[in-house]
């Protein structure tokens, strides 16, 4: 017998009784349903019969509709109040299907007037339009020049249902300059739509897509206003009453100097790479170059397929923001930081000498110096000035990878810099733990050796390098690079300094790179009336993440990357810089002269006193 038998209906009469009880409840439920439906019908009778005349009148006189007034997007200026992102009035056409009498003739007329647009694209717009809501207004996705607008006005009486309207369009007067910092706006896509507050974006169809335009979207956007619009029965606007004023987006001032930016971009020429210049005292980014560039104006109204494909398929990958996403082996630019870590932690004293025969033999392998014949006896100064590899090979074996990691980490390697644009890469600052977690393997000491000269797993972004140079220039004050001027003064953290003379010695060696006869970059600094510090780097490419730069021109892409970091003036640094030129040979040949020129230009512009003397006076503008 089933266990639950006593729970079942105990007898036929019981079963019958229970079934009846259930049916009784069903009847009650149904009667309840009918009663409530009757109440609804009573309500409808009241609205549709008794009060019909009143509502009929209200519907006919329904003339107050609510319109949203989209906010004007905040403008973007450079540090000297030069306009970088503006809103310009442009003309466009709006269509309401219900009011148009002949869509085909309108299509033809517009194809004739907009002779700069492929007729097919206009045809396709109307093909879709014919299937859309007939009472809503749709905007032509193209803009009309003033001349075209005038041409349309002449024939507009023949085409009811089409209105010529002016709207504000985002424009970037400097075009491609600084596009990777500034970013651009474009049409809101489906994915963005999901995460937007529909109220705040009513009437707005663009949104920041990258760079500062994206990061500061909420500041730039503002909030829409509401206005009551009184219309006649046909929907023609008679009167407007504003009820909630629009709050326009706030203007933003960048820390960039657009003149310096243009100067720096020009120096890069056709090369791929990046230049970052930072004010080491504040973290303000003065120049933010990633080349090649592209024109953000193309994206504002939606880019056409052809231009987009050209950009996407460009082997030089203009969309990559190399300044924050390009991950490069730092090469010899890592050496000053290595040296500082070693002397601060007593692995070696600055004057201690190591003999360099041109290689380090470890196990069965010879790790070669760039100078085959060797540098002979090398102390720390010489190791930095002549960029001796063997010195650092030796040093690294004494330190071990984890000590190297701990010495470099405070300078921000392997971590986000916290810059105010999205999508920054962390780069890699390897350690035993890192390798175990990411590669699942244990560390080999041979890998320590190549790490010491910024090869192997080490990857940094140009921004990280510039920041590290700035921190060194600052004598350990940790700045956060930023692109938008803020009025708050941040309290900066400080790297623990064991002996300030250690820092000065490293900086002195970097000065010697530029100004002593043996320095790797000294021929570029001969003419300078001020003293600067620098370090060149030449990074081998085969360790670069090949997937990022899939290249047709493979042979050229195997050339070394040219790197340079530096700051000036040495004693009161006003600018710190990093330069990376992809596949452009040695650091002293390509990157160093670019870095020197940018620094020189900046000091000329902002500290003319540095010329001809070396005593900078604080007379910055703003």
């Amino acid at each position: 017998m089933p266990v639950h038998e006593h729970l079942e209906f105990n007898s036929d009469s019981d079963r019958f009784h229970q079934k009846n009880q259930f049916r009784f409840r069903l009847y009650i439920a149904f009667i309840f349903t009918l009663i409530l439906f009757a109440i609804l019908i009573t309500r409808m009778t009241q609205l549709q019969w008794v009060e019909h005349d009143r509502y009929q009148g209200l519907a006919e006189g329904n003339r107050i509709s609510i319109e949203t007034l989209p906010p004007t997007r905040g403008k973007i200026f450079d540090r000297n109040h030069i306009l970088l992102a503006d809103n310009q009035p442009v003309y466009t056409l709006k269509f309401i299907r219900e009011k148009m009498d002949n869509i085909d003739s309108a299509t033809l007329a517009i194809q004739v007037i907009l002779n700069n647009i492929e007729p097919k694209r206009i045809y396709e717009f109307f093909k879709k339009f014919k299937q859309k809501n007939r009472s809503k207004s749709y905007t032509l996705p193209f803009t009309l020049s003033e001349e075209q607008a005038a041409q349309f006005s002449v024939i507009s009486h023949k085409h009811p249902g089409i209105t010529l309207t002016a709207r504000l369009k985002r424009t970037y007067p400097y075009g491609a300059t600084a596009v990777h910092a500034l970013g651009y706006v474009g049409r809101i896509n489906q994915k963005e739509l999901k995460n937007l507050d529909p109220k705040a974006y009513r009437g707005t169809d663009i949104i920041g897509k990258s760079g500062v335009e994206k990061y500061y979207e909420s500041t730039l956007h503002g909030s829409p206003g509401i206005q009551q619009v009184e219309t006649n029965v046909r929907g023609r606007i008679l009167r407007k009453l504003e009820t909630l004023p629009t709050t326009p987006g706030k203007d933003i001032h960048l820390t960039l100097d657009i003149k310096l930016q243009q100067f720096a971009e020009a120096l890069m020429g056709e090369m791929r790479g990046s230049i970052i210049a930072i004010d080491p005292q504040t973290g303000e980014v003065l120049a933010f170059v990633s080349t090649p560039v592209f024109d953000p104006n193309l994206f504002v109204d939606g880019i056409d397929h052809k231009s987009y494909n050209t950009l996407v398929n460009d082997p030089n990958r203009p969309f990559i923001n190399r300044a924050i996403n390009g991950r490069y082996p730092p090469g010899s630019t890592t050496k000053p930081f290595m040296a500082l870590g070693a002397i601060e932690n007593n692995f070696i004293s600055p004057n201690q000498k190591i003999y360099d025969p041109g290689f380090l033999a470890y196990k069965d392998h010879r790790y070669r110096d760039w100078k085959r014949t060797g540098h002979g006896l090398v102390d720390m100064n010489k190791a930095i000035v002549e960029s001796c590899d063997t010195y650092f090979y030796e040093l690294s074996l004494d330190m071990g990878i984890d000590n190297i990691h701990n010495a470099l980490a405070p300078f921000g390697f392997g971590a986000h810099t916290g810059i105010d644009i999205y999508g920054e890469s962390k780069g890699i600052l390897p350690s035993q733990q890192w390798k175990k977690e990411v590669k699942g393997k244990s560390w080999y000491r041979g890998e320590t050796i190549i790490s010491s000269i910024g090869q192997g797993y080490n990857l940094t972004t140009p921004l990280q390098l510039a920041r590290a140079a700035a921190i060194l220039a600052n004598r350990g004050k940790i700045i956060r690079p930023h692109l938008v001027r803020s009025h708050k003064t941040e309290t900066l953290e400080q790297i623990e300094i064991k002996k300030i003379s250690n820092w000065e010695k490293v900086i002195q060696s970097m000065e010697n790179v530029m100004h002593s006869k043996k320095g790797t970059a000294h021929k570029h600094a001969l003419h300078l009336p001020f003293k600067m510090a620098g370090k060149t780097g030449t990074a081998q490419v085969f360790s670069l993440n090949a997937g990022d730069y899939d290249a047709e021109t493979l042979d050229k892409k195997l050339h070394d990357h040219s790197l340079f970091i530096g700051f000036a003036p040495v004693n009161n640094p006003k600018i710190a810089i990093s330069v990376i030129a992809e596949n452009s040979g040695s650091g002293s040949k390509t990157a160093a002269p670019i870095g020197v020129k940018v620094i020189e230009q900046f000091l000329k512009m902002y500290y003319p006193e540095t010329y001809p003397e070396q005593t900078p006076v604080n007379t910055r503008e703003n």
Partner: protein, 375 residues
């Protein structure tokens, strides 16, 4: 010797028709199809003749009909076996919505599973009443006090998980669908009346705990004219649409309220207003008759069901359907406060349609998977 209805081998009635052989109830299908056809027509008009909107609605309806057909094939005893597990899954999903759900318009209701965005509370609309019915499946009516308390606890627990999303409206409606099972299982009248009195008395306390936007809705409901351009705007425009429709309406595609865009959400929550404007009082009565017909058929299926489990879920599904209809129409006509609820089988949109059609599939399954009892 008694026969456990859930274990009896299925023996089908002889000379069944074609529809019945594929487990479809012809009358129910007829009512539902009529409503869906109306839906397509009204959605097209309310969207101002937007072909894309209508096409999407047709695709959704096709999908939902397929689901209904599939669920009609599942014998009730299989559902019975799965019910507690579905409930467990539902509860886990509700909790994960709270933990990692995607916030949209200030409330977390969605769960992202790969390409699908999913609203677990939608699943609970079906599973909660099924679970309560499952509890009472082998009990006599009314069930013992302990079982009733257990049922009420499950309802309260599920409801509270949805309340904190926060989604008071859905939580109340799902709670009601669970409570309707208690009612059909024979909850004593005196308990029912006591509970009603309790709710009336506790209303002021509930007011205290409401979100600002919920309070605003209630206030607007009481005096919509006090805020003609804010929240009251919807109701005023909706009433104008309904009222101006008159007895016989302005004719198909004739809704000026929707086409001049005075009526908000005209294809979704306020679709009834478009129907009332275009087809008038006669159209409204026709629609309610159609709904009553579907509900009556569903309750009939419940009355013919052979065991407690199927009886209770059939009856409860119909009550849920009724409550949704009543609340939506009550809302757009200004009888009830504005709660964002679609009109069943009419409004543009997918998730509520899918749930509803599944429930019709289950009803059809109950009616067509009958066993020959030995007596």
């Amino acid at each position: 010797m008694k026969i456990d209805p859930l274990q009896t081998q299925q023996v089908y009635r002889k000379n069944k028709g074609f529809l019945e052989s594929i487990h479809i109830d012809g009358w129910l299908l007829f009512g539902v199809l009529l409503l869906l056809a109306t839906s397509i027509a009204i959605v097209y008009s309310a969207s101002g003749g937007d072909v894309a909107v209508m096409t999407r609605q047709i695709i959704r309806i096709g999908f939902a009909l397929t689901l209904m057909l599939l669920f009609a094939q599942i014998p009730p005893n299989i559902l019975y076996i799965f019910t507690p597990w579905l409930f467990l899954i539902g509860i886990i999903m509700l909790i994960s919505v709270l933990l990692f759900g995607e916030a949209s318009k200030g409330a977390q209701r969605w769960l992202d599973i790969g390409p699908v965005r999913f609203q677990p509370s939608e699943l609970m609309k079906l599973v909660l009443p099924m679970t309560i019915a499952w509890l009472f499946a082998h009990s006599k009516f009314p069930p013992s006090f302990g079982l009733l308390v257990l049922g009420a606890t499950l309802i309260a627990f599920t409801g509270s998980l949805i309340v904190v999303q926060p989604d008071l409206g859905t939580s109340l409606l799902i709670g009601l669908s669970g409570l309707s099972v208690l009612f059909f299982a024979g909850l004593p009248w005196k308990v029912i009346f006591t509970a009603f009195a309790g709710i009336l008395l506790s209303a002021p306390i509930a007011w205290h705990f409401m979100h600002a936007y919920q309070k605003q809705r209630v206030l607007t409901f009481l005096t919509p004219e006090s805020d003609p351009l804010g929240s009251g705007y919807h109701i005023i425009q909706s009433k104008i649409a309904i009222g101006s429709g008159g007895i016989d309406g302005k004719g198909y595609m004739g809704s000026t309220q929707a086409h001049l865009e005075f009526l908000p959400e005209s294809t979704t929550d306020f679709i009834f207003s478009v129907l009332a404007e275009e087809f008038g009082l006669l159209g409204v009565i026709g629609l309610l008759i159609l709904y009553s017909f579907v509900i009556a058929r569903g309750l009939y299926i419940a009355s013919k069901a052979q065991d407690n489990f199927t009886r209770l879920i059939a009856a409860s599904f119909m009550m849920t359907l009724f409550v949704y209809i009543f609340v939506n129409i009550g809302m757009v006509s200004g009888l009830l406060p504005v709660v964002g609820l679609p009109l069943p089988l009419m409004s543009y949109g997918g998730s509520s349609l899918v749930t509803l059609m599944i429930s019709f599939g289950i009803l059809m399954s109950i009616h067509t998977h009958k066993k020959l009892l030995t007596k």
